[in-house]
């Protein structure tokens, strides 16, 4: 009993004495950052963009990263990836390379975010007037055919957002490939490919209905990742309106 008592006392004491976590990036040199940039350019930029502004992967040129509150977490995220997302573990980087890449990622966020021209309030009005919520959800409102935009400003840089508004067909995001299926009895379904395996495909049509097909039931199955169901706004929005809409989308950070 006595032994237990002493042990029980000792445990919290031990925890109290725990050292504060050391910053793994504290001793980085300019040469380390240069190597981090080089590694980032080859291995991270394909998804995050060469300046970290986001693309298939998240916008990293922000002062606060959603999955990495501190530098230890940042190193851990780069090392281990983020389950359920496209962020893979960087097993190929050794410990010093991990720290170099993390240092470079942090440096991206400390650069003053390029001022986004445009007025977010006006952009919001354009978003509503153009019926964007017919396909996108922001903070719980809207319809879900297209990607949710609640946090799109945290995940995507302004340059990426502008590019998608002008020409949405470039780099269709995973999970939004267009599919067209024709059954033996000439029924045709067109929509977003929700899932697919070697024998079946699941499609969501423009009315947000799920359709399930066995591939053997189909006479035709086309997939197109070079087109998007979203209209291009290059011709229908003025440059100033585009700026406003980008500014609004960039302001969406998931804050409620």
């Amino acid at each position: 009993m006595k032994i237990f008592f002493i042990w029980a006392l000792a445990l919290p004491l031990h925890l109290c004495l725990g050292q504060p976590a050391e910053d793994p990036l504290r001793a980085l040199t300019p040469a380390d950052l240069a190597n981090g940039k080089r590694l980032f350019g080859g291995q991270c930029a394909p998804c995050h963009g060469i300046t970290g502004g986001g693309g298939k992967g998240a916008n990293l040129a922000v002062p606060r990263l959603k999955h990495a509150a501190d530098n230890q977490e940042l190193v851990a995220v780069i090392r281990g990836g983020i389950e359920g997302t496209g962020m893979l573990e960087a097993w190929q980087l050794n410990e010093s390379e991990l720290i170099q890449v993390a240092g470079y990622v942090r440096s991206l966020g400390s650069v003053a975010a390029s001022a986004i021209p445009g007025d977010p309030a006006k952009g919001r009005a354009i978003y509503e007037a153009r019926g964007c919520s017919g396909c996108h959800i922001v903070a719980g409102n809207g319809s879900s055919l297209g990607p949710e935009l609640t946090e799109v400003g945290a995940r995507r840089g302004a340059a990426y957002l502008r590019k998608k508004l002008v020409d949405p067909s470039e780099e269709t995001p995973d999970g939004f490939v267009i599919a067209r299926a024709v059954t033996h009895d000439a029924r045709e379904v067109r929509g977003i490919r929700v899932n697919e395996d070697s024998f079946t495909i699941q499609i969501k049509d423009a009315a947000n209905r799920f359709h399930s097909f066995r591939k053997s039931e189909l006479v035709q199955l086309e997939k197109d990742s070079t087109r998007s169901l979203m209209p291009a706004f290059a011709a229908t929005l003025s440059p100033a309106e585009l700026d406003d809409l980008v500014a609004y989308l960039a302001s969406l950070r998931g804050d409620r």
């Binding site: 080859g42 291995q43 097993w91 980087l93 050794n94 390379e97 697919e196 070697s198 990742s225």
Partner: protein
């Protein structure tokens, strides 16, 4: 009463006794699955034909056995007289009633806290059986011998130090009085080897180093101290020819993987097939598929022993669909190069010359900026098994069609840490796909192809019923017509399949079993 007791004792002795002679004639008892690949020749083919092309559409799950561990479940079961033996991640062996899936015994040990698997997941691919003993390798680099009737430990031998990145995931190969095991650690700068242990005592009988020491034949293909961290792991079960008493085993990549600057030369015997005398462990011959590899194209694919007519002459050959995208035939006695042809997309070699050496194209080595090469780091195929169907004379291989940007980085050896010098950025998603391909064994020519949604991690099994079984990353367990490749049946198991199928029979009923997601699923006809 006395005679009944005697009968019971006899039954206990006879039951599950697997003498070496039984292993040499595994084909003659197709109700059992006695070795990793089904027979010593590594065919992964069964003479069972109750489940056939004509009725496989009626196949349905009969039982499931769920594992607690969340790691990938990669076991290839052994089945002996109604009892199934499987390994579970990270370090466990379980015996199951093969008819019902109910556990009979379990042996497990916790993984040491300081153990790191460098370059692979904490998995295991299966056991071997000989006599009344089941053998398994462990992640902490031990070989464990368990009583087949209870799971009690008979002996345990340290094969290598796990703290230096050595590990065992490979299923052992049991031959006459010996247990052969390979080793993992190709991304940790180990010096690879293949070991033989006395099946009764666990005493090491011989060790073949896959990287020669200075002065030994082959050492001229290394420079300086590079041989000490030269890699050449032996992490997939090989084949055995009892008549020749030769073990055929594939070796993995040289270390460091993607930066070959510190190891100029061919780097023997990495990325090779070695034929070893089973009594002495002495090298009879070797064949190197990828000299001075810089893409991590281990030659640890299954070497398949078969007879084939090559350029008009009947030959005893070893066939291998190599990770480097070429299908090879070698003479089984001499290792003479007989044939190579691509079975998947490749952009690194102009071809294979008359001696079997690849004609490497310029600008295909990894670079700082990234070099796009087909196949990807994981190769055109990998550890998951091919199957040889002697009735159709076809070689089935699960193919990964994916390219990769290869990066070159620095590599500094520190024991027990990664030592690879680079990496890759694969062209995945819809830019990649998979396939099951049937190759003519003699010519390597593709006879049919069945397309898969993504590059697979599951092997194939073929049967005398005219069926090929395989699995997909998306959870499809399926049957194809062995002659035409036409899909005949499919079941969605609900988790990725990263394992090889096997088949067996109990009480005259045939089953097909696959590890899928975190369960073992057995299928049978109604």
């Amino acid at each position: 009463m006395k005679s009944l007791a005697l009968l019971l004792v006899l039954a206990a002795v006879l039951c599950a006794q697997v003498p070496y002679e039984r292993l040499t004639k595994a084909e003659s008892e197709p109700q059992n699955w006695l070795t990793y690949s089904g027979n010593y020749s590594a065919h992964r083919f069964s003479r069972l034909d109750q489940i056939a092309a004509a009725n496989v559409a009626h196949l349905r799950p009969v039982w499931m056995y769920q594992v607690k561990n969340r790691e990938e479940f990669e076991t290839s079961p052994i089945v002996v007289d109604g009892v199934m033996y499987v390994t579970e991640a990270p370090m466990a062996v379980t015996a199951l009633d093969a008819r019902t899936g109910r556990p009979l015994w379990n042996w497990q040990r916790p993984i040491p806290r300081d153990l790191k698997t460098l370059g692979f997941g904490p998995n295991n691919r299966g056991v071997a059986i000989l006599g009344d003993t089941v053998f398994a390798g462990t992640l902490d680099s031990r070989l464990v011998a368990l009583d087949a009737h209870s799971g009690a430990v008979r002996w345990e031998t340290v094969v290598a130090d796990y703290k230096t990145g050595h590990s065992i995931t490979v299923a052992p190969l049991a031959i006459n009085g010996k247990v052969i095991t390979g080793i993992s650690g190709g991304e940790a700068g180990i010096r690879g080897f293949l070991d033989a242990y006395d099946a009764k005592t666990g005493k090491r009988l011989w060790r073949f180093w896959t990287v020669p020491a200075p002065g030994e034949p082959g050492s001229e293909t290394w420079s300086g101290d590079s041989w000490k961290t030269g890699g050449g792991p032996t992490w997939v079960t090989g084949a055995y020819d009892p008549e020749r008493n030769l073990i055929y085993w594939g070796t993995g990549n040289p270390g460091p993987d993607w930066n070959g600057d510190v190891r100029p030369g061919d780097n023997l015997y990495t990325c090779s097939l070695v034929a070893l005398d089973a009594d002495s462990g002495k090298l009879k011959w070797h064949f190197q598929f990828t000299p001075h590899d810089v893409h991590d194209w281990d030659a640890t694919e299954i070497p398949v022993l078969l007879d084939a007519t090559v350029r008009g002459r009947e030959r005893k050959v070893v066939a291998m669909a190599n990770r480097n995208a070429f299908y090879y035939l070698l003479d089984r006695d001499t290792g003479e190069f007989l044939h190579a042809s691509p079975y998947a997309r490749q952009t690194w070699a102009k071809g294979i010359d008359d001696r079997g050496r690849p004609e490497v194209l310029p600008n295909t080595a990894p670079s700082v900026e990234g070099t796009l090469v087909y196949p990807s780091l994981q190769g055109s195929t990998n550890w998951f098994s091919p199957s040889y169907n002697p009735l159709a004379h076809l070689f089935y291989v699960a193919v990964r069609e994916m390219g990769s940007y290869y990066f070159k980085g620095e590599a500094k050896y520190k024991p027990g840490t990664f030592f690879y010098g680079g990496g890759e950025h694969p062209l995945d998603g819809d830019r990649a796909y998979g396939a099951i391909r049937a190759l003519d064994v003699s010519t390597g020519k593709m006879q049919w192809e069945f397309r898969l949604q993504s590059p697979p991690w599951a092997g194939v099994l073929s049967t005398a019923g005219g069926v090929v079984f395989g699995g997909s990353n998306e959870g499809n367990f399926y049957a194809l017509d062995a002659v035409t490749g036409k899909p005949l049946w499919e079941f969605q198991v609900g988790g990725p399949i990263v394992a090889n199928p096997v088949t067996f029979a109990v009480d005259g009923k045939q089953y097909v079993v696959i590890a899928a997601g975190h369960a073992l699923v057995a299928f049978g006809l109604n």
